[in-house]
């Protein structure tokens, strides 16, 4: 899987328009900072654990990419047809960055699986770097995007996620 596909896949899986729906009315920048730190830490942890995890469940790296691609497609379909999430219920103040921004808005099963599959294929550092880009884009959208764009934007990115997820699946299928 190329780094480009991994990065674009993560950006689509993290769907910045979906994440922007969880923008809190109070202290959005603080919440974004907490979300960013928590998400990057989670990405590092998942990437580092990808090898032992896939070994434990007896999945090769190639098959892990198929699984990740399927998850990205599934979440893409969900994003196409559901409304963006709401900012509440949430933890208070900046801690909204943990819940619901980092989880479950940014860290969906698709993002988690794709980070891990990417780490198994390309290494921990490239996977974390790609995840950081996706997290950054998502949080930039959280801070900057206007509400009017969220619904249509989420659907369009969902469509993109379906296409990119399919490419990730094919990458895993045709791999050794």
């Amino acid at each position: 899987m190329t780094l480009l596909l991994l990065t674009l896949g993560l950006v689509a899986a993290a769907n910045p328009f979906r994440v922007s729906g969880t923008r809190p009315t109070e202290r959005p920048l603080d919440a974004a900072l907490v979300a960013g730190i928590a998400s990057v830490v989670a990405a590092i942890g998942l990437a580092a654990l990808s090898g032992p995890f896939f070994d434990a469940i007896d999945i090769t790296g190639s098959s892990a990419r198929i699984a990740a691609g399927v998850a990205v497609v599934a979440m893409g379909v969900k994003d196409m047809f559901t409304a963006p999430p709401q900012p509440t219920p949430a933890l208070a103040g900046r801690w909204a960055g943990l819940l619901p921004i980092a989880f479950p808005a940014i860290f969906t099963p698709a993002v988690a699986l794709l980070v891990m599959a990417g780490a198994a294929d390309r290494g921990v550092v490239p996977a974390v770097a790609s995840a950081t880009v996706a997290i950054g884009v998502a949080l930039a959208a959280l801070v900057l995007l206007r509400p009017a764009m969220r619904r249509i934007g989420q659907s369009l990115v969902g469509i993109t996620a379906v296409g990119l997820g399919a490419l990730v699946v094919l990458d895993g299928v045709y791999a050794i």
């Binding site: 399927v70 998850a71 219920p89 099963p109 791999a175």
Partner: protein, 397 residues
Amino acid sequence: MVPPLLRRLLHALGGWVLVFGLTAVVVHPEGCRVPSTAELDRTATRAVDWFGANIDDAGDFTYRYDRDRSVDEGGYSDTRHAGVMWSLWQAESAGIDGAGEIAERAFARIERLLVDTPLGPALGTGSQAPTGAIGLLVAALDERRAATGLTDHDELLRGLGQTLAAVVNRDGSVSASIDVSSGVHSGRSPFFTGEILWALSRLHLTFPDDGLAEPARRIRHYLVTDRDRVEEHWPPVSDHWGAYAFETMDRWPDPPATSAADDEWLDRQLGLFGLQVRYESQRQGGITRLTRGPIALAAGVGTLGEGLGNHLLWLDRNGQRTSDRGDLIARADCAAALLVDRQITPEQASTDAEPARTMGAWFRLGDTQMDDQQHALSAVLLLRQYRATLASSEATS
């Protein structure tokens, strides 16, 4: 009443369970392991023993046997007979006792089948002689020559080589059959291209002045650039015979350079082999019978091991695809392990009505066919050979 935040969390976790459940349906655990060399030796020996127990005085093997009904189902394939002879000579070269003797007995059938055509000697009983059978017979007799030093079949080998060269078309495609009386050749087969390329490649090493390099190079070019597109085989062919050919051609004094087209073809082939091994390794019985179907024929799994083993040999020799090496070895180990684990053991055979028909064989849905034993034997022998090559190069470095 569940607090709203907790409800949101639980809803999200429910989504995770659903998505992971969906991916679990699509991707199953792959039951792979690394078989020991002792297991490979034992598997190969038992397969050879099966051939020894299932050849009659006319040199014919038990072709197809139903374990559940204890019935010899009859039928035969001359191409597969030649393929079995190749595997037995391969085993003889690898030091498996008795393999060569069984292969010599099997030659009795070949003697009955040999026929003269306007193109040269061929094998067949009807009006059409399959060219793939000639290819595999060449491989078998050439390996015999290498294993024993005997040159008594040289005239036949050279004649078969000329027959094969004559069925290579201008574009490098090969005809699947020869009209015995007219010499007209026609048809295509998904496997004969690789078989004939391999045979000609071997003969060029053995008889370098027989002019067989040129048709071999022509076939190779067709194989990597046109065959899949022109012949439109579906599903795509994972070409283990082509892998044998690439490994052999790599040992030519003047091997063809690996072209961009070769690389593209190799990408597709290695991916096909790997995918099939991964898929097969997910067939673990139980619920996977619903999602993955029954286990594949041992012949099919064996061809995966043959393809991977051959590609590993020549790629390693040249230091190519080093980044793929780990995955290739893992898939080759996996294919061999599946074969080791699925072979009928003496203990399992002891409760059968005819243990000699079953011990050392592989069965699918109650049936075995002699090419199951052929391809499985060759696959484990190739992995053994690769490991020996690795050990040898590590010792000298």
